[in-house]
Structure formats: C-alpha cells, structure tokens
C-alpha cells in the first residue's frame, strides 16, 4: 500500500482492503479524513494504522468513483474540515467488497485447517 509498506514494523493492511475499511467506517456517520483514520485505529485496537499517504489517495479514488461524496463543514472546534459521506453506490460497493472478502477469508481458512477426512 504505497508508503505504508515501507515502515513495515506494523502489520500491513491486506492489499485492497483499505477502501473497504473506509467505506465501512463511513456507514456509521460522515467523517473527515482524520476522523476516519482515528476510527480505524481505535476499532482495530491500534493494530491497523492508516498512513496519511495511503488515506488521501484512497479517498480521492473513492471520490472519483462516486462511492463517497465530500463537503466542507465546521467541526465542533469551529474549524473547517472536509467531511466524507457514503453514497448509495458506495453502499453497494461495500456490500460486494464485503462478500468477496468473506469468501476469501473462508477459503484461506479451509486451506489452513487442512484436508477434511471424507
């Protein structure tokens, strides 16, 4: 994932999953970039840290695909920030990525647990 993989002391995000994580984060409420990174970090118990170098390009990608929309709002501390909201298309995309991801995990799990006795 770009620069994230260079500081490889922390476990890397599986490639292709960042978009999914961001979209999922946004299902709960609209957030700005910092808020998204913070949320992912907290929910993963500090295991997953999203580098800003990965976050913003990913957000741009999502914007271009119209899976999220962005607008400028005021935060509680009265600063201007850009808030990202999930769109209907984004929701659909999230569902499809989730199901793909689950299939992948299930398959890997089957391999790891070895052949079943028939």
């Amino acid at each position: 994932m770009g620069y994230g993989s260079r500081m490889a002391k922390k476990p890397e995000l599986l490639p292709g999953t960042l978009d999914m994580l961001i979209l999922k984060t946004l299902t709960r409420a609209p957030l700005h970039g910092y808020g998204i990174a913070l949320s992912i970090k907290r929910l993963s118990s500090n295991v997953l840290t999203v580098e800003e170098g990965s976050l913003y390009p990913a957000l741009q990608r999502l914007l271009l695909q119209s899976w999220v929309k962005a607008e400028w709002r005021m935060t509680e501390t009265n600063r201007r920030a850009r808030f990202y909201t999930l769109t209907a298309a984004g929701r659909k995309q999230l569902e499809s990525e989730l199901s793909q991801f689950e299939q992948m995990i299930a398959a890997i799990g089957r391999v790891l647990s070895g052949p079943q006795e028939a």
């Binding site: 700005h32 910092y34 800003e52 913003y56 741009q60 271009l64 201007r80 850009r82």
Partner: protein, 874 residues
C-alpha cells in the same frame, strides 16, 4: 467527467487538498500535545508522520491530473531542444510544408474541376447532341435538322441549340467587339438555370421575327452595367440594333462550349445560309426523359437523321447522330491529366512524410543517451513516449500549418497559369482555393503526418533497453529495419526525381524548339489586330472594298510603316478555316481534299515577307467583278500538282452551296498557318477583295518597335470609321506566344519542372537523412578504423561510396522509367526523341551533384570523429 471538472478548477482543488491535509496535521499535532509532547516536538512529529506533504499532494493529484501540465513541460523541452539544434526540425517542417502544400493545391484543382457538379439541374441527364460522321464524331447541327429532330424525337424532354456570334457593342467609349451566344428559346430551361434578375425567354421569342431581347452574363452585368438592379428594361446596342435587356444570369452559371459569351440572344433571325439544311452551325444539348438510356436516345436520333437524309436527298455526307453526356464534353479531355497530376501529388506527399519521419528518426538516434539516462533516473516508458509523441505532434502541426499556407499561396497563381482554352473547360477554376474540401483533406493529412511522426521515434524505444543503449552494443533490430527500408525509400525517391527531371528537361527542350520552329515568314516588327466591320454599314461590295482600300491608304501613311496586309486569319493560330476543294477537269470519286483557306489582301503575303516561288501575287484590282484567282502554297502544289506547273490550273470549291472556280496565279513558300506543333497543311489564298470578309486581321510591318505602333493603329481605324470593332491588338510575336500550342507546352514544362525540383529536394534530403543515420550508427566502427590508422580521406570515401551506390541505383532505375514515361508523353514532345541523350546526361550529372552535396555533411562529420571519443563514448 469528474476528472475534467477537477482539471478546470485545478487551482481550487490544490488548495482544498492542502487545507484538508493541514487540518489533519493539526489534529495529529493536537493529539500529540494532549499526550504530553511539547508543541515544538508535536509539530515535528506530526510532520514526519505525515510524510512528504508535497509528494502526497502530487500523488493525489496525479490520480486526477489530466496530464496537461506534463504536456506543457514536454512542449517547453522540445522547443528548447530545437532552439539549440534547429536544423532537423526546420528541415522536417519544410519538407512537410512542401509536400502538403503541393498536394493540397493539386487537390484543390482536381476538386474544383472534377468533383464540383456542373451548375445545372440534374446534370447527369443533360446530353450533348450532335450529328456525326466518320471523320468527326461531333458535327454541328443545321437549323432545319434541329427543328425536325425536335419534332420527331421521343427521347428528350427538351432539345436546344446554341451558336457563337460576335457583335459590336456600342459603348460610351466606342465600339467594342463582344462575344455572344445565340440560343434557342428553352435553352436555359433545359439546363435548369434560374436567372438571377429578370426573366428567361418567353416561348414565342425564338421564332423567326421575334423581338430583340438579350440576357446578360453575370460578369457582363458587373463589368459593363455596374451591377445595377434596374438594368432590366434598358437597351444594349448590338450591331446597331437595340436589344432590350430582359434578365441577368446567376454568378454560378457557366457554359464551357459557349466560351465567355456576355450576351445571350434568342435565335429569331437566321442568316440565309442558316436556312439551308446542309449548313451546320449549331451545337445541341438535350435533357433525356426519365427512363430513357443514352444508347436508346442515340439509336433513335441516328434513325431520325438517316430518315431525314433519305427524305431530303442529302448526299456527300453520311451523317448519323451522337449523344454523349454534356459533362464528358466539358470535362472529358481534362480528366486524365488531372488524375495523373493528383497521383503525382499523392506520391510527392507520401515521400515527403516518409522523409520527415526519417529525419525525426535520425534525430531520435542522436538522443539515445538522453533517453537512456532519463530511463535510468526513473522516467516511465509512458512518460518518454509522451515526450516523443508531443514533439512529433508539434512538428506535424507546424508542418501542416506551413503546408496550408503554401497551398493557399500557390493555388491562385497556379490557376492563372492555366492556358485560357483549358481554363474555359474547367468551370469552377474561379472557386479554387482553401475551402471545405481542401480543409478536410488538410486535416486528414495533418493527422496522418502526426501519427507517423509521433510513432516513428517510439518504435526505437520499444526495441531498445536501457542497458543496451548505454553500452551501445550492436545496432538493434529497429535500426537494421530502418536501414533497409530507408535505403529502398531513398532509391525510390531518387528514381522518381530522375524521371521528373528527365521529363522536365525534355519538355523544356520541346518548348524551345516549338518556339523556334520555322514559320515561313518573318514575325518580327509586325503589329497585328482584329477588325470587325458592321454588316449594316458595309452592305455592298463597293463599300467593303472601299473600306479595305481606305484602311491600307491611311495606315501606310503612318510614320515607320513599311507595308500593310489583311487576312481572314493570322498565321500560327489554328487549322480551323478549311475548305474542301475539287479540281475541274479531273475525275472526282468523292475524295476528301481538305485544305486551309485564307482570304488575304494583295499586299499581305509580301508584308509577311513570304517568298514567292512561282507566278505572281494578287493585285488590288482583282475584285468581285473579275474571275476568281488564287495563290497556293508549296504543300498544296506538291500534293495536288506533283511534277506539274500549277499556274493556270483551277481549283473549285463550294461556298455554302454556290460553286466557285479559282484560277491559280502563284505559288508561295509554306507559311505556318496552323498551330506550331502541327504539320503545314496545303493552303489556298483568295483575294480579300473577292471574298469580302467583314471580319479580318490586320498585319502591319513597321521599322520601329511594333508595340509602339498599336495605339496609333487603333486610333487611325477609329478615325476611318468609329463603328469599326477593333480588338486584340498585339505584336505578331506576342500572338504566337499566346497560341494554345505554345501555352500548353509552356504550362507542362513549368509544371513538370516544378515537380522535378521538389522531387530533387526531397530526394536529396532523404539521402542526407539516411546517410546521417547510418553514420551515427557506425561511429564506433569508424572510430576503430581511424584508431587502426585509416586516413580521413578513406572515411570520406566510405561514406560517400555508400551514398554513391544508392544514387547509382536510383539513377539506373530512374533512367529506365523515364524513357518509358517519355514514350507515353510523346504527344507533348516536339522535335525530340524520348531518349534524348543530352537530357539524360544532364539529369545524371545533376543527380550526382545533389548526392555529393547531400552526403558531404555526414561524411565530414564522420571524418572529424575523434577516434578515442568514439571508442570511449560508446
């Protein structure tokens, strides 16, 4: 779409992103401070964590950037490069401009002449309808035949005739001869032409005795009538009769067989001859009915004509009918010439583009190192490709723009160069210029050139890898391919150049010989002009002869004048006034004895300084009251009186049904009465005082420069009678230069010469490009040779030998082809063999010179290679 939107608000996007990331950084900073860092440390930590902000913004931006900025960078780079090394770029642009300009101009011509439809309604159904016989497939119609054809036929919905006429127009500044066309009443309706002003002829106006009405041509309306809208209803004085103007033709109208007629009158009066069924004076057009084919129409008209012949007992000519599409007559002769030109221009364009691509390739070859270094530094393939593509596009665009300017500049002068007779066959020559069609072609060519120039250097990239280029081991596959392809191309270009040069040389020589062909008279110091005496003022024989005598008397008295002569037609014009003669006392078996006929004054032949061989010339006293006399030329004497003395013998001919007999009183040397490039025909001269022509040409021999005499002649004639139509004043030499034969040869010589020059330039540049390329490939080899002790001269020899082989090959092929081509061109050659050794030798020499010049520069560069540099650098 979103990308586009972002592109346009790039600035805003950039700053928004910055703001967003600044916010994020501030939050991180705040968090760190909350955790207990000092504000200083917090800020540094946040920045470090955030990474390279610029890089981030670049990366994010790269996703959405439209590459416009990189394109601008490429452009800037390219322009800087060219400023340092303008040679190749300029050469490429020049070549493109030449090739494109020429082919565009030619296409403009062809487009105007062939592709624009004729300015008539549904021109495909318009036919040219003529009588025809074995010798002349397009024989004019006679008026009675026309009336019967109109009555009896079922193939044509309408049938019309036309005939040229000359009138004397009375203008405020004197009497001017003008060209007119007499047409039948539905002529314009048959063509489907709508008048711009006023009305067409009414149905009855072309019956005998109808009113004197006239329709003006557009040009005439502008020139003589000041484009005034109230011209309808005014009168024009033609031949001392008042014709009421009833309408004006549209600007787009032209009728090639009618020449440049200004006045269009209905045929409502026939000369006595024209009443006769055997007087053939009218051209015919017709509109086929729907569903009728040309063959059916032809068959029907032939049948009708045969029936008429039987009915009226017409013998002596076996006439049938001839129906061809009108377009054939108007365009037919010109089509093959134009198509050949188009082919030649296309070839030139192809060669030019390939040459330009070759030059670009040479250039890219010398930038190998730069490319390799850039790739080593991390430039992506696509970025490099974009660089080259941009450069190629810029070259193509600049070249195309230059090409269009060249074309624009060339087309009008070329149009003016076309000889008038050919030009009147091309109705839309006026419209030649940059228009929709040529613009579209220009765009297409530019695109093709752009593709070629952009793709060529990138081909090199794909065949090389980074290390290979830096170490420059062996030449890659691409360069081998180019060497072979390029060599063949150059040989082909040189051959084409040889063919064109040989053609130009032959045509040039032909032109020279044509203009120096023996004339049989002395054309220098002769002033000529045309005179038209109105029939209304000179009705009787005495009046006409009196005019002749007065003209001679007055003009002879002018200072510097040595002698004055008059003739029905000046020499070197055409063989078109001919006569069929028989010989009384000889058995006649229907032979066709056609000779040139001229009516001349007594002093004419002497004025021309033609040599009298036997007998005597006319005297002024021999007029219509005396028996007919004739003078013949040597050719006639040889053909019809071989081994005899023609003096005292007789010729009989048939002037409009009235037989005449002429006694031969003298024989003169052959005068070239016909075109310069035809054989001299047998010619008979009759005394003007006996034939009493109203229209004649004056030839005046003067001691001073003939040009200065012309205005005086005109005013003298006007003093004699202001109603005389005086026109076409020129010296004899000018008349000869303006004949169709001279013009055609001159036009062809210039045209082929122009092509040849261009082909030579292109061939030379192509050769240069190839040699330069191969030298740059072989630098290492040359370095080694020189390091091993080869002299500079041997390097020169090496390079120039390579160029020599190519030139030799091109020359050999070219010479063979050019002999073949000149055999095809035989008709245009005059007094030359197609394999004229002088021409071919000079072409070979010229080519050798060009090839030496082209290969000199690369040879020089090769020889000045420092061996150690060459060895080390590679």
């Amino acid at each position: 779409m979103k990308k586009l939107a972002i592109l346009f608000r790039r600035g805003q996007f950039h700053s928004e992103l910055d703001e967003e990331m600044a916010f994020h950084r501030a939050q991180v900073e705040q968090e760190l401070i909350d955790r207990g860092m000092t504000p200083e440390d917090a800020r540094y930590a946040a920045m470090r964590q955030f990474g390279n902000a610029a890089r981030l913004s670049d990366q994010s931006q790269e996703l959405v950037s439209f590459r416009v900025e990189t394109v601008l960078q490429d452009l800037h780079f390219a322009l800087r490069q060219w400023k340092k090394n303008p040679g190749i770029a300029l050469a490429a642009i020049l070549i493109l401009a030449l090739g494109m300009g020429t082919s565009l101009s030619i296409f403009g011509f062809v487009d105007a002449a062939l592709l624009e439809p004729l300015p008539y309604a549904n021109p495909g159904r318009l036919m040219s309808v003529n009588e025809s016989n074995v010798e002349s497939p397009r024989w004019p119609l006679s008026y009675p035949d026309y009336l019967d054809w109109q009555r009896l036929n079922k193939s044509f919905s309408s049938l019309d005739v036309y005939s040229g006429a000359g009138y004397l127009l009375r203008t405020p500044s004197g009497v001017k001869p003008v060209q007119a066309e007499r047409v039948s009443g539905s002529f314009f309706r048959t063509l489907g032409v709508h008048l711009m002003l006023g009305r067409d002829f009414y149905p009855g106006e072309d019956r005998l005795g109808g009113p004197d009405v006239v329709i003006l041509s557009y040009g005439d309306w502008i020139d003589r009538f000041g484009a005034r809208r109230d011209v309808v209803g005014q009168t024009a004085d033609l031949d001392n009769r008042a014709y009421t103007i009833i309408g004006v033709l549209p600007q787009t109208f032209s009728f090639a067989p009618g020449g440049n007629a200004e006045f269009w009158v209905p045929i409502n009066a026939l000369s006595p001859h024209e009443h006769s069924r055997t007087f053939y004076n009218f051209g015919g057009i017709g509109r086929l009915r729907d569903g009728v084919t040309i063959e059916a129409a032809q068959a029907e008209m032939t049948a009708i004509e045969r029936q008429l012949q039987r009915q009226y007992g017409i013998t002596g000519r076996d006439l049938s009918a001839n129906v061809v599409p009108l377009a054939e007559i108007i365009i037919g002769d010109v089509r093959p010439v134009l198509l050949t030109l188009l082919g030649g221009a296309g070839l030139l364009l192809l060669i030019a583009t390939l040459n330009a691509a070759g030059l670009v390739l040479v250039r890219s070859e010398s930038r190998k190192r730069e490319v390799a270094v850039r790739r080593a530094l991390g430039a992506s393939r696509s970025r490099l490709v974009r660089q080259f593509v941009t450069e190629g596009l810029v070259l193509a665009v600049l070249g195309s723009l230059a090409g269009m300017m060249v074309a624009g500049g060339m087309m009008r002068p070329l149009a003016h160069l076309v000889p008038k007779d050919m030009a009147s066959n091309m109705p839309f020559l006026e419209g030649v210029g940059l228009n929709a069609h040529t613009g579209a072609l220009a765009a297409a060519i530019a695109l093709m050139a752009a593709l070629l120039l952009a793709v060529t250097p990138t081909l090199r990239l794909s065949f090389n890898d980074v290390r290979g280029a830096l170490a420059d081991a062996t030449p890659g596959a691409a360069s081998r391919l180019w060497r072979k392809l390029g060599a063949n191309l150059v040989v082909a270009e040189l051959s084409v150049a040889v063919v064109l040069l040989a053609g130009a040389g032959l045509l040039g020589q032909s032109l020279y010989r044509l203009l120096h062909v023996p004339l049989g008279f002395d054309p220098n110091h002769l002033a000529t002009l045309q005179v038209m005496a109105p029939g209304t003022a000179y009705k009787t024989d005495e009046q006409t002869v009196g005019l002749y005598r007065e003209v001679v008397r007055r003009i002879s008295r002018l200072p510097g004048v040595e002698s004055v002569g008059m003739t029905s037609m000046l020499p070197a014009q055409c063989d078109c006034a001919s006569d069929r003669i028989q010989f009384p006392g000889r058995p006649y078996h229907g032979e066709h004895n056609e000779v040139d006929e001229r009516h001349v004054s007594a002093a004419y032949l002497a004025t021309l300084k033609t040599r009298l061989v036997r007998g005597r010339l006319f005297t002024d006293r021999e007029d219509a009251s005396m028996p007919g006399v004739a003078v013949i030329n040597q050719a006639l004497a040889r053909r019809y009186f071989p081994g005899q003395d023609p003096i005292g013998q007789r010729i009989a001919d048939d002037e409009f049904g009235t037989p005449h007999v002429w006694e031969i009183v003298g024989v003169v040397d052959d005068v070239r009465e016909g075109p310069l490039d035809s054989d001299i025909q047998p010619t008979e001269y009759f005394p003007l005082n006996q034939t009493l022509d109203h229209g004649f040409s004056l030839a005046v021999r003067t001691r001073q420069a003939p040009g200065t005499l012309l205005p005086v002649l005109v005013s003298t004639l006007h003093q004699i009678d202001p109603s005389l139509g005086v026109s076409d004043e020129a010296t004899m030499n000018e008349q000869i230069d303006a004949t169709q034969a001279a013009l055609l040869h001159r036009f062809s010589a210039w045209l082929v010469g122009g092509f040849a020059a261009m082909a030579l330039v292109l061939g030379g540049v192509g050769l240069y490009g190839l040699i330069a390329y191969s030298v740059s490939q072989r630098r290492r080899e040359i370095g080694i040779r020189m390091a091993l002790g080869a002299q500079r001269s041997s390097v020169y020899r090496l390079v120039m030998l390579q160029s020599g082989w190519l030139t030799l090959a091109g020359l050999a092929i070219g010479l063979v082809c050019s002999v073949g081509a000149s055999v095809v061109m035989r008709n245009l050659l005059f007094g030359l063999q197609p394999w004229d050794p002088l021409t071919l030798a000079s072409v070979a020499v010229l080519l050798a010179l060009v090839s030496i010049a082209a290969s000199f520069l690369p040879a020089h560069r090769a020889a000045s290679v420092n061996p150690t540099d060459a060895l080390r650098m590679e």
